[in-house]
């Protein structure tokens, strides 16, 4: 008979694990790829996604995650390919308030600043060695 505080979790399974975007990033880095991690670091006005939203772009132009779609995302993708090529981070300002993008599928107006950062295996390992 079950006693006090009996847990009905299967003892053979681990505690349920959270999946994160970094699982996929690590997989790509381990294959020797350089990827660009784009993060919305600040916004002004009404933007499709909030500060902290992330999108990973591979050298082949594949995308994981979203920073809101529309032409802003296309701009970030284009810049990300450059970041991967040069391995130098850059900041991109996406203005969704101008006339051109108001005709595009971007859902909201507003301005977002997106930091695009290159990640590759050696740089990833340097972080752990330094601590």
């Amino acid at each position: 008979m079950a006693g006090q505080g009996t847990c009905y979790d299967d003892p053979n399974t681990d505690v349920k694990k959270r999946e994160s975007v970094y699982h996929q990033v690590k997989e790509l880095l381990d294959k020797g790829e350089t990827v660009a991690v784009a993060t919305i670091v600040s916004t002004k006005g009404s933007t499709p996604r909030e500060v902290g939203a992330k999108m990973v772009v591979t050298a082949w132009g594949e995308i994981l995650g979203t920073i809101g779609g529309g032409c802003g995302e296309a701009d970030v993708k284009r810049e990300a390919i450059e970041v991967i090529r040069t391995r130098k981070p850059r900041m991109v300002r996406i203005d969704l308030t101008d006339d051109i993008s108001s005709d595009s599928p971007a859902v909201c107006g507003g301005i977002m600043n997106v930091f695009i950062d290159p990640w590759w295996k050696e740089r990833d390992e340097e972080a752990a060695n330094a601590s």
């Binding site: 079950a2 006693g3 006090q4 505080g5 009996t6 847990c7 009905y8 979790d9 299967d10 505690v15 349920k16 694990k17 959270r18 999946e19 994160s20 970094y22 699982h23 990033v25 690590k26 880095l29 993060t39 670091v41 600040s42 500060v51 902290g52 130098k88 981070p89 900041m91 600043n113 930091f115 950062d117 290159p118 990640w119 295996k121 740089r123 990833d124 390992e125 340097e126 972080a127 752990a128 330094a130 601590s131």
Partner: protein, 257 residues
């Protein structure tokens, strides 16, 4: 071999909280380059590429502020001993919120399923094995059977814990509430009629001498007023209230009608 990504993966798998600080922009003698990073977990640096102890120290202190607020933020920091300034993005990775559902009855079923969709770590507790079991709650992270009040007393409750008291009766809800009313839980909600709740609170004031501001923390009757009729609608109303408490909404229609 360890790396920044392997530390980030470990943090997410262990359901831990952490902050990843990234230098975005450097003004003047900043001593670091954009892209330099520092990963802080439990107030300790677990990986970094900054290499300047003074800067790392101010980042660790700042990281704590943003983790408490559970909000990622771009911050300007002065570089110690120089005229330089850094723009640092603090990416906050809070531990997932924990929902404790006390009482495994008919409202608990939709409540647990919806809470999993909302990414809560969900614990169901009841004293009846017939109700609290894996077959009824395949989505729950933990299903516990035992004396409910005693299990709550022994549970680790943090400011990211949300507790819902929906047992089969008032004589179970009340002793459970007594065990958690002084806890740091972010949300405590108790089901019941206004009349029974009023009587319960009066006993808490008279017999337990529990302070009024402590009693006022309890959401009872539980949930937002959306005119619920079914158990699933009640579950939705409870979770809507929890999200409101967590994120700070007004719970009014956005259309303003």
């Amino acid at each position: 071999m360890s790396s920044l990504t392997s530390e980030l993966i470990r943090i997410s798998e262990e359901n831990a909280a952490a902050v990843l600080a990234t230098v975005i922009e450097v003004e003047g003698d900043g001593r670091v380059a954009p892209g330099a990073k520092c990963l802080v977990r439990d107030g300790r640096v677990v990986a970094e590429t900054i290499g300047e102890p003074g800067i790392v120290r101010s980042i660790v202190a700042e990281a704590d502020v943003h983790l408490r607020a559970e909000k990622s933020k771009l911050v300007e920091l002065a570089v110690p001993e120089t005229a330089g300034r850094l723009h640092v993005f603090f990416e906050v990775m809070p531990a997932p919120p924990k929902l404790v559902v006390v009482g495994a009855g008919h409202i608990a079923l939709p409540l647990v399923r919806m809470a999993k969709i909302l990414d809560f770590y969900v614990i169901v507790i009841d004293d009846r094995l017939l109700y609290a079991n894996r077959e009824r709650f395949p989505d729950a992270d933990e299903v516990l059977v035992g004396d409910m009040a005693r299990m709550l007393k022994e549970m680790t409750i943090t400011p990211s814990t949300y507790i819902v008291l929906i047992t089969r009766g008032h004589k179970y809800d009340e002793p459970c509430l007594r065990e958690i009313i002084h806890s740091p839980a972010r949300y405590i909600g108790m089901i019941g009629s206004r009349r029974r709740i009023k009587a319960c609170f009066q006993r808490f004031r008279d017999e337990e001498k529990i302070a009024e501001e402590v009693i006022q923390r309890v959401y009872a009757p539980i949930g937002l007023d959306i005119g619920t009729e079914t158990p699933a609608e009640i579950a939705l109303s409870i979770l809507a209230e929890i999200v409101k408490v967590r994120r700070g909404g007004s719970a009014a229609s956005l259309s303003g009608r």
